[in-house]
Amino acid sequence: MRYYVRRITFYVITLWAAVSLNFLIPKLMPGDPKQIFIDKFLRKGGELTPQMQNSIDLLFGADGDAGLWDQYVSYWGRLFSGDLGISITYYPQPVTELIGQALPWTVGLVGLATIISFALGVGLGAWAGWKRGTWVDSIIPASTLLQAVPYFWLALILVSVFSVSTGWFPRIGSYDIFGFDNGPEWSWAFVGSVIYHGFLPALTIVLSSVGGWLLGMRNMMVSTLSEDYVTTAEAKGLRRMRVALTYATRNAALPSFAGFGVALGFVVAGSVVMEQVFSYPGLGKLLFNAVQASDFALMQGTFLVITLAVLAANFLMDLIYGFIDPRTRNHG
C-alpha cells in the first residue's frame, strides 16, 4: 500500500509542477508575448471581445496591479472549470474543444503503436537474450540503427516508398475525408479507413521505438541468465521453457517496465514531429499549427494536455509495475 501512496503523492506533485511550469513559461520569456499575441489576433481581423480579453488575461495575466500570486490562483481556478482560453487560429473555438477533437487520434495512434512496439521489443529481446552466443547476437547491433533513426525521417522515407512511389497507402490524414463527408462515424467502413490511414504512422512509431526496447530487454535477459538462480533452475532439470519464461524473462522484464517512462517521452517526442509528416490530426499537429500562428493559448493548452496524457500513461504503468513486482508492494 505504501508504494501506491508514494506514487500517487509523486504524481500529485508532478501534476502541480507541470501546471505551474505551464503558467510560468509565458511570463519568463523575453520580449512581450502578450503584445505579439494580441497583434497577431488583431491582424487576423479579430475583435477584442470581453470573452477574448478574458482568454488573454488567463494566459498572460491581466494588466494592472494583480500580483503574480493572484494570477496564479485565478489560473488554477479557470483550469478547474475547464477553461484553457480561446484559439486565435481557429477563432472563436475554445482551446478545450480543439484539443478534444485531436486527443483521441493521438492517444489511439501513439497508445496502440507503443503497446505493440513494447510487446514486440520485450518479446524479441527476451528471445534474443535467450539465444545469446549464437548468430542472433550478430543481428542485435542492427537494432541500434533503428534506434538512431529520426521518427520524422523514417516517416518521410515510408511515405516516399509506400505512398508516393507505389501508392499502397494514403499520404495524409487520419481517414478518408471524401468517403465520410460528415466526419467520423461508427461503422466498419470508417474503422477500416482509420486503420488504413493509421498504418504508416503506426509503423513509423513501431519501427523507430522497437530497437530501444529490444536492446534493453536483450541485455537484461543476458545479465539475468547468468544469475545463480537460473543456473540452479537449469541444474534442477526444469523444462527449458519454464526457465526461460518464469525464471529469466519475468525478472528481466522488470526494468523494461520501470524504464517505460523514459522511453515514452521519446515516443511522444518523435510522434509530435511525425504527425506533421502525415498531417495526422492529433495533438502534435495541433501544437505545430499553434506554434506557426503564435497562437499561444492553443499552444500552452496543447502542451498541458500532452503532459497530462504522458503523466497518466506513466501512472498506469506504475500501477502495473506494482502488480507484477510484489517487492514494490511489500517494501514500498
Binding site: 518521410l156 517526442a269 506557426q292
Partner: protein, 360 residues
Amino acid sequence: MADDTREAELVTPAADAAPAATVVVDGIAPPDTTPGVVPDVPPGQDQGVPPVPARRGLRALLPRRSGKLTAGIVLVVAILLFTFVAPFFTQDPRSTANERFLPPSAEHLLGTNHIGNDIFAQVAYGGQGSLMVGLVAGAIALVLSIVFGIVAGYRGRFTDEALSLVTNIMLVIPGLPLIIVISAYLQTRSLLVVAVILGLTAWPGAAIVLRMQAKSLRSRDYVSAARVAGERTPRIILVEIFPNLLPLLTAQFLGAVLLAILAEAGLSFLGLGPSGSITWGTILNQASANNALSLGLWWWFVPPGLLIALFGCGLALVNFSLDEIINPRLRLGPAAVKSVRKARKAGVGAGDDPKETVAA
C-alpha cells in the same frame, strides 16, 4: 574458458560498481595472447592496485577489439571527418549561383535545391551545426546529470529526496513538446540557445542511472575509508567515485549527444531550430516544404536523415560496447554459452571419429 571463469570470479563481486580496474587488465593484454591462457596479473594482485586514476579509467574504454566498437568508432570518425573536411572542397553552401532543382551530377553530387544551393555542400556543412548542438547539449546534460545523479546518490537522505524528485518530475514531463513551446516564444534562436535548451531537458534519464550507481558505490569500503580519513565530500565524489563511473558517464554522454541531435533535427524540421543556420534538420525541413517527397527528389531528403541515423548508430554501437564493459555479464554470458556449445560440438565430433575414440 579458464580465462572467462577467472574474470567472472574477479568481476562479479564488483560487477555493478568498479569494473574499470579489471577491464584494464584485458585492455593491456597483448592482442595475440592465446585464448585460455591467464594473462599476467594473478587474481589476488588486483586488490593491491591503488585507487584507479582517471587515465586508467579512460583507457578502459578501449577494451579488447570488438567488431561493434570498431564499427561504431569508424562510423563516428568518418562522419566527423566528412562534416569538417568536406566543406573545404565544396561550394559555399549558401551560394545561389547554381541552377535550381538540378538532379545529382558530377558537378553537384546531390543536386541543387529550390534556391540553387548545392545540397552536398549543405549536407556537409550542416553536419557541423547538428554535431555542435549535440556536443554542447550533451555536455550540459552530462554536468546536470552528475549533479542530480551522483551527488544525490552519494549524499543520500534529504539531498537525495529533493534532487530525485526534481529528476523524476523532469523525467515524466515530455521534453520535446516543452522545447517546442519554449522555442516558440523566442523570436530568434542561435545555435547555442537551441543547444542549451536541449541540454537543459536531456539529463534526467542519465541522472537516474548515475544515481543508482553512486548509491551502490557509496557503501564500498574504499569510499568509507576516504570518509573516515576526513576527505571532504567534493573530493570523495570527484576523486574516489568519479573515475569508477567513467565508462557509465561516457555512455550517458554519448546517449545525450544522440538524443540532442535527434531532438534538434525534429525541432528544425518543424521550423523551430536555430534561425539562419544550416543543420541536417533544416535541410529536411526545406526538402519537405518544397515537395521533395512528391517530386521524388530522394537526393534531397535521404542523405541528411541517413547521416543522422548512421552517426547515431555509431554512437549507439560504441555505447553497446561500453555496456559490455560496465556490465561484464553481457560479454561473459554469450561467450560462456558459445564455448559450451563449441565444447559439446567437439565432443560429438570426437565420438563420431573412430580414430579419436581409439586414441581416447
